[in-house]
Structure formats: structure tokens, C-alpha cells
Symmetry: C2
Subunit: 219 residues, 2 copies
């Protein structure tokens, strides 16, 4: 980031870049199988800095990153996932339950870097602009940062997996963060064991892609 | 989108691409001043299709796009904004109120394309996977799609502005969408009148960027 030098004038993004960007969008994956190689900590800091180039409501910059390094806390988070995942499985039956049980839905076993991401609902930045009628836009700002980090990570060959099968209140307690921090995502980060263009849940017949035309209406 | 052909094997994103991607992140702006030139409708459909390459919880694809074309509905949305914005101004005082009143916070006056984006909280896709303990991850999936669309639009020279100063319940009523659709964002889309690398709220001294190191903790 420090070495970034902007060219003069506003940039032009040509067709070659656009094609490559589309390839990036297509090859970004939710990764659950990681190699155990460490990721350079400077690279992680750079990715977090890049994520902060995302838009935020009122420029409130509500993103808060917790680098979860302590093995005991990691173990508690993993137990949190195991409980929530067992509960989730209990809500399916028949073939769907069998399929659910075969899916690998987290990389908590091996991911060398684990980031818990929060939204500071009391952020002093931005002076509340834009979030009065929709306070949830603070959380949305954090999500924009996460998608930005995800894309930037992929260009470095680094995979990200978002774990949401967690009791969010317990996560906040485990990580001992301020009460005003709302838990958004738990990210497993590291070099992936394998690469795919198709999402895991498509490949394992859980849910296919749906044609976008089904999701557009006019008013 | 239809013309996309993936190369053999997994892609390599080199330093040239990474630098250009960082430039894209830095030059993506929340645009509020639009030229009135129309945007080709096929291009809008392509951008929406690209947005659907974002991750979604359980591959639930909960994004729903409403292309708001009717002038009466647009006028109602604009009145909704004017009311919410006047209320917001009433909550500031002194210099901060004066500054707030000078800010242009929406492009509803001229944006040729207006997209309201919703999350289908009852989406049949994904079979509920991943969203049991955190149902808000459906909305978060939609936000990832919006950030993806925003970046893709910028590479085509198209600006996007996210209007959040709205009564969300009234927006849903104005656009006559299913009850299960949760309003996420109202996007103004079009060719920008001007381009900047610094956010409008930084340029007008509302809120500066904060060093990311303030937002990272270790546990």
C-alpha cells in the first residue's frame, strides 16, 4: 500500500483489465481447505488496508478486525461452530441431511490466519451521516470491505472462507471486544489446497446457480 | 457475460493486474453528480449478472434488483429522501449543521438508471444453509453483490451512488415488492460529471480517512 503511486489524471480500465477482473470475480471462492503454510503478516496487513478502500456510510469506516491468534480462543470458536453446525444438521432430514453431513463448511481446522470482523455501531467517525434511517448500513459497509479483501487476497493466491455458522454473541464474548462491536464475519485465511471455478455448494449438488433474469423486475 | 471464455487451468493475477486493481479500489467513488446520457440497458444487465458472481450464504443468491423506471415512483422515492434528509439535518447543530446542508448526498435528480436492491429473506435457494444463527448473512450477501457491481461499473466508466437516507419501509411500499423482500440499497447509476480519487466527504471536510492500524486488534 505504501508503495502505491497514482498516475496522473483519472485512470482508464481497458478491455484486457475488465476481462481479467471478470476472471477474478469468477475464481474468487469460499475456501475451506487450507495448506498450513504461514501467510506473511505484512501481506495480511496490506489486505486489511486495501479492504478499507471500500465505501462506508458517511465515511464512518466502522470495520474492526480481530486477528485471532490465541489457540484457546481459536478452540472455543471451533467448538462454537461445531455446536451450531450440529444444530443446523438437525433441521434437515432424509437425503438433504445426508448431503449436509458430507459438506465441509469451514476451514477452522487448518487456516493459518483467522480474522473476526466486526462493525463498531458506536463509531465516532462519519458523525452518523447516512445511517439514521438505516443503521444497518454500518454493517453493510463492513461487508463491502470484506468483499474487497476477498478479491485482493485472491490476486495474491490467498483464499478466504467466511464462516457464519456461529453463535455471534458467543463469538464476541470469546474475543472480548467492546459491547458496541457487532459481529459480522469470521474469516479463515490462507493458501488453498485446491482451486476451482465452481462454488463448492454447486459442485456437491447443494444449490445450483440461478439465472439472474429471475432476480430482476421493473417498476 | 455470455462471451466469457475461461482459460485453461487456474488463473494467475500478476503484479500489473494487482496494481490496476488497487487503482480501481482507490478510484471507485460514491457518485452523486451524473450526466443525463443514457446507459445502454444491456450494459446494466451485464453489470447485474456480474454482481451475481459475488459469494452468497449457502449459495442462496438472495439479491433482487428492481429497475425503477416509472417517473411517479422515482418522484416518490425522491420525496422520501428529501424528508429523511431534512430530519437528518435537524439532528445537527452549529457548524456541523451548516456543513451538512451544503453536502450533495444523492444523485436522484439526474441519475438515468435507478436500481433498488433487496434481499429475499424467504429465498428458496440455498436451503437455509449457513444463515440459521445469522439470518442477516442474506443481506450481507446482497451487499457483496453491490460492491462487485460497483467495481465492475467503474471499469466501464459508470458511476454508482448508494442512497441510504430513506425510510426503507416506504421504499418497499412505493416499489410494490413482496413482503419478504428486505430493502438494502437504492443505487443511482450513470456516467459521472466528474471524477475524483478522494471521497466527497473527505474533500468537503466531513470525515477524513483514519489509519487502518487503529482498527486492528489481536486476541
Amino acid at each position: 500500500m505504501a508503495k502505491y503511486k497514482d498516475p496522473c489524471g483519472s485512470p482508464v480500465f481497458d478491455e484486457t483489465f475488465r476481462d481479467k477482473l471478470e476472471q477474478l470475480f469468477r475464481w474468487r471462492r469460499d475456501v475451506r481447505r487450507f495448506r498450513t503454510d504461514q501467510v506473511d503478516s505484512e501481506l495480511i496487513e496490506e489486505l486489511i488496508a486495501t479492504s478499507a478502500l471500500a465505501p462506508s456510510v458517511g465515511n464512518s469506516q466502522p470495520w474492526r478486525f480481530v486477528n485471532v491468534a490465541d489457540p484457546n480462543r481459536r478452540a472455543t470458536i471451533r467448538a462454537n461452530f461445531e455446536t451450531a453446525n450440529a444444530d443446523a444438521l438437525g433441521n434437515y432430514s432424509g437425503e438433504r441431511a445426508k448431503l449436509y453431513a458430507t459438506l465441509k463448511l469451514d476451514g477452522l481446522d487448518k487456516a493459518p490466519v483467522q480474522l473476526a470482523v466486526f462493525s463498531d455501531t458506536q463509531t465516532p467517525h462519519g458523525h452518523g451521516l447516512g445511517s439514521r434511517t438505516m443503521p444497518e448500513t454500518l454493517a453493510y459497509s463492513v461487508v463491502g470491505a470484506i468483499q474487497t479483501l476477498w478479491l485482493a487476497a485472491r490476486t495474491q493466491g490467498i483464499g478466504v472462507g467466511w464462516v457464519s455458522i456461529l453463535d455471534p454473541t458467543a463469538v464476541a464474548r470469546t474475543l472480548d471486544v467492546p459491547d458496541a462491536w457487532q459481529f459480522i464475519a469470521y474469516l479463515c485465511v490462507g493458501y488453498p489446497e485446491e482451486e476451482h471455478m465452481d462454488p463448492e455448494l454447486v459442485r456437491h449438488d447443494w444449490q445450483a446457480r440461478v439465472d439472474i433474469s429471475e432476480f430482476i423486475v421493473e417498476r
